[in-house]
């Protein structure tokens, strides 16, 4: 029998289809000798009927209205286009175009305000890149120092593990949408 001790709760669950088959059989034999429980069952059954009578149905043509209101192109396709690969590709294309234009202008010996401005922007981009690379290298050096310190001091190993765990968590969160799609495909395959 279900862990619930109140027989009324068991009857309630049984009438609502929430009781396991074995428990239902046990309850049925109990009902046979209990008028009050049988009345409870009848009243609950009637209550279910009365509540069900209050349901409303969607109007005819509702499905067609919904389908007509859907966007023609799938919104997720647009999102995929705006994914990081597209962003990187666009940046690379813009950079290539800029470099090409710069190269052509330099080869033809063009000069002037526009060319100087473009050159300044490129110099700025190059400086930013170098700075970024320097910061990255410094941070890696920092990581190396932290690892060395952690190896020297066993007490900080736990802290290091924590840092790695946080990083792993961040990576997992970033990879979540892809995993979700894979899980969806797997769930579909299993059901097939």
């Amino acid at each position: 029998m279900d862990s619930h001790s109140d027989p009324k709760l068991l009857v309630d669950l049984a009438v609502d289809g929430g009781l396991a088959a074995a428990d239902t059989d046990a309850l049925r034999s109990r009902l046979a000798g209990d008028d009050a429980l049988r009345r409870e069952e009848r009243e609950l059954g009637r209550l279910h009927e009365v509540l069900a009578a209050g349901r409303v149905a969607a109007r005819p043509g509702f499905t067609a209205a919904v389908m007509a209101a859907l966007p023609e192109s799938a919104p997720w396709a647009d999102r995929r286009l705006l994914g990081w690969r597209s962003v990187l590709g666009t940046l690379a294309a813009v950079l290539a175009l800029a470099l090409g234009a710069f190269g052509v202008a330099g080869a033809r010996g063009l000069d002037g305000a526009g060319f100087a401005a473009a050159r300044a922007v490129l110099d700025f981009a190059a400086s930013a890149t170098l700075s970024g690379a320097g910061l990255l290298a410094a941070s890696w050096r920092g990581v190396g120092m932290a690892v060395a310190a952690a190896l020297d001091l066993p007490a900080t190993v736990a802290f290091g593990i924590g840092v790695v765990a946080v990083n792993a968590l961040l990576i997992a969160l970033l990879r979540r949408p892809r995993r979700r799609r894979a899980a969806l495909a797997a769930a579909t395959r299993r059901r097939r």
Partner: protein, 206 residues
């Protein structure tokens, strides 16, 4: 778990849907927009009924149900298959319903009851001029009594009763939707039905 009224002697599980929701979602994501129509047909009555019980306005219930389907479609690629499609859909519906009630609350402040400070938005519904769902019942008096009995339930109980009997969600789905332990859902539904039974004793006899 099957929905609706089922005498103990005739318990039988509801037939499984021919195509699981998750597979239909996968088909839609693969480009088969028609599969979304199957999902709409599968859930439209339950959604309209659920929203109608929340809002008491059939037109708004239909409008919001359509909005629910559109939002679900827009975010279909973000559907997490570890949750049920039904739970996700009804969560969207519930949120939209609550938003609508809040919107009405602002608009209809002068007309609201002033005597109950602890009312949830669900309890702040005004009688609608829309056709009653109980018009199909021969006994309109009984229909009104049922509605009043549901309305008189404490917010939590009423919400669960509506989810179970109008959205036709299973106990597990309700537990997931409300982020509530399964045992709590069972107990609250039991108590809610006991309250309804007491209030409607005159209509439940033989």
């Amino acid at each position: 778990m099957a929905a609706g009224s089922r005498p103990l002697a005739a318990l039988s599980s509801r037939a499984a849907p021919p195509i699981p929701d998750e597979e239909l979602v996968a088909r839609v994501l693969a480009g088969d927009q028609g599969s979304f129509g199957t999902l709409v047909e599968r859930y439209q009555d339950r959604l309209v009924s659920f929203l109608y019980r929340m809002l008491r306005d059939l037109d708004t219930a239909h409008d919001l149900a359509q909005e629910v389907f559109l939002r679900v479609y827009q975010a279909l690629d973000r559907f997490d298959p570890q949750f049920k499609f039904s739970t996700w859909t009804f969560r969207v519906a519930h949120n939209l319903g609550v938003d609508e009630l809040r919107r009405r609350k602002v608009r209809w402040v002068p007309l609201q009851r002033q005597d109950a400070e602890d009312e949830t938005p669900w309890e702040r519904e005004l009688p609608s001029t829309e056709p009653s769902p109980y018009q199909d019942l021969r006994n309109e008096q009984r229909g009104g009594a049922i509605q009043e009995a549901i309305d008189a339930l404490p917010g939590d109980y009423r919400e669960l009763i509506v989810m179970r009997h109008y959205a036709e969600l299973s106990y597990e789905e309700i537990a997931q939707l409300k982020r509530m332990p399964l045992g709590t859902v069972k107990n609250k539904l039991f108590r809610g039905r006991q309250m309804l039974k007491e209030r409607l004793a005159a209509y439940l006899g033989d």
